[in-house]
């Protein structure tokens, strides 16, 4: 698609190496699913991997799309991925992706004015499900347009990403879905670290990916993931959110945030003062999952704006360091949805310290979220490297690539650098992290976009014919 945008009328020469074939690139993560066309520099569609399930009277109905994750009766928020960042719900996932591609990647469908909803009288109440009619209901119209879209699926190869620890069964499911469900002409599945290394332009790299459900450290050599080096642990965004939660709960006074949707209006108050707001009256019960989803959104906001990684040089838990943090660093104010606000000083460092130092976890962390010393990022890196050929290690440390949205926390790279230098004093360490936050959030997707628009890649695709001849296990043979 980007070929349209070339200002020059000259066709790129072979040196450029690109040869775009209009492939779809799909990067499912625990928190976000990213999709777009190969050759572009950012995914067109980024959507939380959550979907709404309406438990109605008869049978439950699934609705896909971020805009439908709203307070509603009987609405349950679900995720089609597991906490291991692999696809679990293979009934839902294809539908989820399909709706994502249809609604966000393809040009809007022409619908007869009678049905496009623009002329409807706006309804006040939330109860009607007219606006929700998406995947199952409103497919009666526009048959020709539908056909055209189907054709698009049938003409575009699909490149998917997967976690490096993805199971064989899962991979086979992916190709099955692509070939039989969507009728793709060609398919490829690639592990996220490989793609991230592509995006960073480094064939050999140590990929540190701190996403939502997982943090992983994986060595990539010449575009191949080294399986013995794969290390993962739960110290990702969700874990960090739990630390935030523990911080709020352990705070004096205890902070009990009210999510956005429950606030009708609010009045500004001084820092530390109790909130003044009127709660919204919903005539129904809010499901726990929806509440959790909303809370997570709030904590993410808190992480983005308040939480910071202690940059060292000494660890935060070293005696005296906390005082320095308290007295010499600026505090940050965070306003909760209900208008109450607090100043956060040294504790905002404490939250992220557990990533590096398990003793720094907040004491009131729930047991299921406690991590061991082996699960800190520092240990992951060390264990990862010890599973790699010695000769590669210096090269890997010279090409450390940081990716995943949770690495966007301030100070992450500085701290990582310090930890690495302390761990490997004699070696040259270079951290490569994309300056653009979009590149860091979509690293794997961008790599997929690059890979699938490389001229030399087209000989790799698993074609439909090959799939038909060999069956699903071809994916294991080819996508090593």
């Amino acid at each position: 698609m980007a070929a349209h945008n070339l200002t020059s009328t000259v066709q790129p020469s072979d040196v450029y190496g690109g040869d775009e074939v209009q492939a779809f690139v799909l990067d499912p993560g625990y928190y976000f699913t990213r999709a777009g066309f190969a050759g572009e520099d950012a995914p067109k569609a980024v959507q939380p991997s959550f979907y709404a399930r309406i438990n109605g009277a008869d049978q439950p109905k699934d609705i896909y799309g971020e805009q439908y994750l709203i307070p509603r009766e009987n609405l349950e928020v679900r995720n089609y991925m597991t906490k291991d960042s692999i696809v679990e719900d293979w009934d839902t996932a294809p539908k989820f992706w399909e709706s994502l591609i249809r609604n966000q990647l393809l040009p809007p469908r022409q619908v007869a004015p009678k049905q496009n909803g623009l002329n409807d009288i706006p309804r006040e109440d939330q109860e009607g499900d007219v606006e929700m009619g998406d995947s199952n209901g409103a497919d009666k119209t526009g048959d020709t347009a539908e056909d055209e879209e189907l054709k698009l699926f049938e003409e575009s190869p699909l490149l998917m990403t997967e976690a490096p620890w993805n199971t064989t069964k899962n991979r086979e499911k992916s190709i099955e879905m692509a070939m039989e469900g969507w009728g793709c002409p060609a398919f490829w599945i690639s592990r996220t670290p490989t793609l991230v290394s592509f995006a960073a332009g480094k064939p050999t790299a140590l990929i540190i990916d701190v996403g939502a459900a997982n943090a992983s450290v994986v060595a990539v050599h010449d575009g191949h993931v080294l399986k013995r080096s794969i290390q993962k642990s739960p110290v990702g965004g969700l874990w960090l959110s739990q630390q935030v939660q523990a911080l709020w709960e352990g705070n004096d006074p205890k902070v009990e945030p009210v999510p956005f949707f429950m606030v009708e209006n609010k009045a500004p108050v001084d820092a530390g003062a109790p909130a003044q707001y009127t709660a919204r009256k919903l005539g129904f019960d809010i499901s726990e999952t929806f509440r959790a989803y909303e809370d997570e959104r709030l904590r993410t906001e808190f992480k983005e704006s308040v939480v910071e990684v202690w940059r060292g040089p000494t660890r935060f838990m070293m005696p005296g360091t906390e005082e320095i943090a308290r007295n010499q660093t600026p505090g940050r104010v965070f306003e909760f949805p209900d208008g109450s606000n607090h100043m956060w000083r040294e504790t905002r460092y404490r939250v992220a310290e557990g990533m590096w130092d398990d003793t720094a976890q907040l004491p009131n962390t729930p047991d299921e979220w406690k991590i061991s010393a082996e699960q800190t990022l520092s240990s992951l890196i060390r264990n990862c490297l010890s599973g790699v050929d010695v000769d590669l290690r210096p090269n890997l440390l010279g090409n450390v690539v940081v990716t995943g949205a949770s690495t966007l926390i301030n100070g992450f790279n500085d701290r990582l650098n310090i930890e690495l230098t302390q761990m490997f004093p004699g070696l040259k360490i270079r951290i490569h992290s994309a300056g653009l936050s979009s590149e860091r959030r979509f690293g794997a997707w961008v790599g997929g976009s690059i890979l699938s628009s490389l001229g030399t890649f087209h000989q790799m695709w698993i074609s439909r014919k090959e799939y038909e001849e060999n069956g699903v296990n071809i994916v294991e043979k080819r996508c090593k």
Binding site: Q11, H224, K227, R393, G455, K465
Partner: protein, 626 residues
């Protein structure tokens, strides 16, 4: 309606004088300037200086040269590099009209025509595969048996090697061999037992073993081209043990603590320093040896030391060397180069009594070989005074500095020096000189007779006296040749002289015999006829005088040059001449081994002897050189 009409209506005079003249707009939309520009602008006060700030205007689009938009077309293509299925057709955008995409009008729009030949991907050619050794069942059994490896596992290894293009780190990473045969029996225990944990070096060793053996099986090692042979050698000699040790060492290096790393770094630095110091030391030692070696090159040198003046001279030389060295050191330390006059050993004048001799004595014959040494400059300084009478230490210092700098540079081999035309000089005289002038000099300070003789010899040898192509090498050879010719002439002269003397002596002897005969006869006659006296001494002495004449002539010449060179021996000249007279009869004996005690030009007393021994000395040197 113009403004004039309006005025008319209002009754205002047409010239508009009642109206205040329109103020010239001073503060025209002034751009808010920044920095220096604002300061400059405000210098003018209310009457701003006419500085027009540059405004950047965008270039107008040239509409004329606009080409129609390029047309692109979604074009199907295939990729012949695909292994499994090269029939996969993908589509990409191509510019219409380019290779492979015919302009639209030529293309049948309905598409019912026979299917067009699909374009092949331009990237198919980049697909390359590594070559891994192939073997048949028989070949395996005859060549590749290994107690540690089954054929299945070897197959698996080679398969992986091919898959991962011999990237060993990945091969080892993915290596996960599960024997199949046992699987069928359901013997889970055995399966676990037979699975071996192999490290990267085991895999490499096996692969290289197979590869080397298959290579040798195809072509015997001796018939391989050298490159292949080398490869075979490397593979056949792969030692997993050594690699393992190296890997372990590397791992240890990586796990050093910060202090250890630092210490090692400083130790390495120290080592480097010691190494370079040792090199320098060796350099100096070699130089010293070179100097110490010198006396052994000729017995004549010892002879020089046997006299007091010789010893004095040696002392002076050594001390001057010492001093220049010290100077150099201090200069190197201070980083400045004071113009220090080196005291010139006065006695050195005698040292240079004979031009040609000079070069043989102090030239060392190493000039070129140690030209790059820092210490090579030292003999230069000690020699220089002999020629000029005094020399500034600066020259020596700069030379030393230059040579020191040269040391830093890459040392060229002899061959390279020839190729690049590099030559070493102790000192370059200012200005350009012609090489033939150098040759002319060889002739010009010879007497006409000698010149004639040299020319004759050259003619005999068929060499023109005037070189046609006086390149550096040719000239230096020619110089050598002339030297030899001189030696030859000298020897010839001596031999002539000796011949002449011999003849004279023979004649004398004959004469004496005759005389004796006659005397005897006369005595007999006398006896018979009573005695008669005959005198013979007079003749004898006359002959001797003649023989000495030539020698003293030569001697005079030499003495004169000696004087010119600042010799202090004019006082001893008289005595030497006196002695020459005395020595003359001795000269009538063939001068055997005279050179043992003679050091020409170094001692005035021995002068006359040296005259005769000059040539022999030369001969001795020659002989030694040979």
């Amino acid at each position: 309606m113009t403004s004039l009409d309006a005025r008319d209506v209002l009754g205002i005079p047409a010239d508009g004088s009642s109206r205040p003249a329109k103020k010239v707009k001073i503060s025209a939309p002034r751009q808010s300037l920044k920095g220096l520009a604002r300061e400059v602008q405000s210098l003018g006060g209310n009457n701003p200086i006419a500085i027009v700030p540059a405004t950047s205007t965008f270039k107008k689009r040239r509409l004329g040269s606009r080409k129609p938009a390029a047309r692109w077309k979604l074009e199907p293509f295939k990729n012949s590099a695909r292994e499994g299925d090269s029939s996969l057709v993908l589509r990409h955008w191509k510019r219409v009209g380019e290779l492979g995409v015919p302009p639209p009008e030529e293309q049948p729009e309905n598409g019912d025509g026979e299917p067009q030949e699909l374009e092949d991907s331009a990237f198919a050619k980049f697909s390359v595969q590594v070559q891994v050794p192939q073997y048949s069942e028989d070949q395996y059994n005859s060549n590749l048996q290994n107690s540690d490896w089954t054929k299945e596992e070897t197959d698996y290894l080679l398969h992986l090697s091919c898959d991962f293009d011999l990237r060993w780190s990945i091969i080892w990473d993915r290596y996960d061999y599960k024997p199949h045969a046992l699987d069928e029996n359901g013997d889970g225990m055995a399966l676990v037992l037979t699975r071996k944990e192999r490290d990267i070096d085991d895999l490499k060793a096996r692969y290289y073993e197979v590869a080397a053996k298959m290579m040798a099986a195809q072509t015997p090692v001796t018939y391989m081209p050298p490159q292949q042979q080398h490869l075979h050698n490397v593979m056949a000699n792969y030692s997993a043990e050594k690699e393992r040790a190296r890997r372990k060492f590397a791992a240890d290096t990586l796990s050093r603590s910060k202090e250890e790393a630092k210490e090692e770094e400083s130790l390495l630095l120290e080592l480097k320093r010691i190494d370079s110091r040792a090199e320098q030391l060796n350099e100096q030692r070699k130089d010293l040896y070179d100097r110490l070696d010198y006396p052994a090159t000729g017995e004549g040198d010892l002879a020089a030391l046997k006299t007091s003046s010789g010893l004095q001279q040696l002392l002076a030389t050594l001390s001057s060397v010492d001093r220049t060295k010290k100077n150099r050191k201090s200069i190197q330390e201070n980083g400045t180069s004071p113009n220090v006059q080196t005291p010139v050993p006065e006695s050195a004048g005698g040292y240079g009594g004979h031009g040609r001799r000079d070069s043989t004595v102090s030239g060392h014959g190493h000039r070129d070989s140690i030209g790059g040494d820092s210490a090579a400059a030292t003999p230069t300084t000690s020699r220089a005074p002999a020629k000029k009478g005094s020399v500034s230490a600066q020259a020596a210092v700069t030379a030393a500095a230059a040579t020191a700098a040269q040391q830093e540079r890459r040392r060229l081999t002899d061959m390279e020096e020839i190729v690049y035309g590099v030559s070493h000089h102790d000192r370059l005289t200012g200005g350009a000189t012609f090489r033939y002038e150098k040759i002319n000099k060889l002739f010009s300070h010879k007497s006409g007779q000698q010149q004639q003789r040299i020319t004759n010899v050259l003619a005999e040898l068929g060499i023109p006296p005037r070189l046609q192509m006086p390149t550096g090498a040719v000239v230096s050879r020619f110089e050598g040749l002339i030297g030899h010719v001189n030696t030859l002439l000298d020897s010839r002269k001596l031999s002539d002289k000796l011949d002449a003397e011999l003849k004279t002596e023979m004649a004398k002897k004959q004469h004496r015999l005759d005389m004796e005969e006659r005397a005897r006869k006369a005595a007999e006659e006398e006896e018979k006829k009573r005695k008669k006296e005959v005198g013979e001494e007079g003749n004898e002495s006359a002959a001797a005088g003649e023989g000495e004449g030539e020698g003293s002539k030569d001697d005079d010449q030499k003495a004169q040059t000696g004087e010119k060179n600042g010799g202090n021996e004019s006082a001893s000249k008289a005595t030497s001449e006196h002695q020459a007279g005395d020595a003359a009869p001795a000269g009538s004996d063939p001068p055997v081994k005279q050179e043992v005690v003679s050091r020409p030009g170094s001692s005035g007393q021995k002068r006359s002897v040296s005259v005769l021994s000059t040539v022999d000395d030369e001969k001795a040197v020659k002989r030694q050189k040979k």
